[in-house]
């Protein structure tokens, strides 16, 4: 929705990016509407082919392992995937322990700073505040 670079990645990396999001979406065996909406939004951004989207939706039913997901993920695609995984995990207003552990695992595999997930969560909270401001603007327009 905002300026992004996911669509500029090579196709196989966009696919790997989306698989990782499918993995995160299913990590707590529960997929809320908010998470699903976020997931579909990111699939849209990735500009996957219809066939690839179907394969990714299959991954939602039968989640791949983290190792499978990390295959074909370059540094940039991995960082974008972690960023969006954090936003998706937070989409229902809560990041549970399993989600948090998975995010930390991804960060470690990518070789990121120890506090990368913490920083991304703080960044996500700022984003939610900004989105709330947008709602406030729209609410204040009501007659």
């Amino acid at each position: 929705m905002l300026p992004d670079t996911v669509h500029k990645l090579p196709r196989e990396e966009r696919f790997a990016y989306a698989r990782l999001l499918a993995y995160i979406a299913r990590i707590d065996d529960e997929l809320t509407i908010d998470e699903m909406a976020m997931f579909e939004q990111r699939l849209g951004t990735a500009l996957l082919s219809p066939n690839q989207r179907e394969m990714i939706r299959d991954d939602l039913r039968n989640p791949p392992s983290l190792e499978e997901c990390m295959e074909n993920l370059s540094g940039e695609a991995g960082r974008l995937a972690l960023r969006d995984a954090v936003m998706m995990a937070a989409a229902d207003g809560n990041v549970d322990e399993d989600e948090r552990d998975a995010l930390e695992d991804i960060s470690e595999v990518l070789g990121l700073k120890e506090d990368a997930v913490d920083q991304l969560l703080q960044w996500t909270v700022k984003g939610y505040r900004w989105m709330k401001e947008g709602y406030d603007i729209l609410d204040n327009l009501e007659e």
């Binding site: 500029k8 976020m38 984003g127 401001e133």
Partner: protein, 138 residues
């Protein structure tokens, strides 16, 4: 990217929503990959049915006239459309005069003042800055 306030809208309303976004993207006469990506993202976010998305994509070539898409929509929905249309218009880094003209037409249809439209555009800019901060983290 976030819960969007559109989840309770009917499929027909969401179709009109997406038609307007396509119109905005095509307004400056060129459709860049960033614009297609953001429209696909917004269609995904409000979970428009995949078959309907195929129809909506045909608008990339022949957009539905703005007046037709906005006809008879309630102001509340038009304002959400305005918000997301502003995102689409800004996605390639600047507002084209034709995009601004279309945004003003949407604002008028939703009875949104020039000042409030200006606030919305500022808010989009703030979001842009927030999003870019990600690169400082990773």
């Amino acid at each position: 990217m976030f819960p969007d306030g559109l989840s309770h809208r009917s499929p027909q309303e969401l179709r009109r929503y997406a038609e307007v976004l396509v119109y905005i993207a095509a307004a400056d006469g060129e459709l860049v990959r960033e614009e297609i990506a953001v429209i696909e993202a917004m269609m995904g976010r409000c979970m428009i049915h995949p078959e309907v998305r195929v129809d909506i994509r045909s608008g990339f070539e022949h957009p539905v006239p703005l007046e037709q898409s906005l006809m008879d929509l309630e102001h509340g929905l038009i304002r959400f459309i305005l918000r997301d249309a502003a995102f689409v218009a800004a996605i390639d880094g600047s507002y084209d005069p034709k995009e601004i003209k279309a945004l003003k037409a949407i604002a008028k249809a939703g009875e949104v003042s020039k000042e409030d439209l200006s606030s919305l555009l500022d808010w989009v800019g703030d979001g842009w800055n927030w999003y870019q901060d990600f690169s400082k983290i990773l």
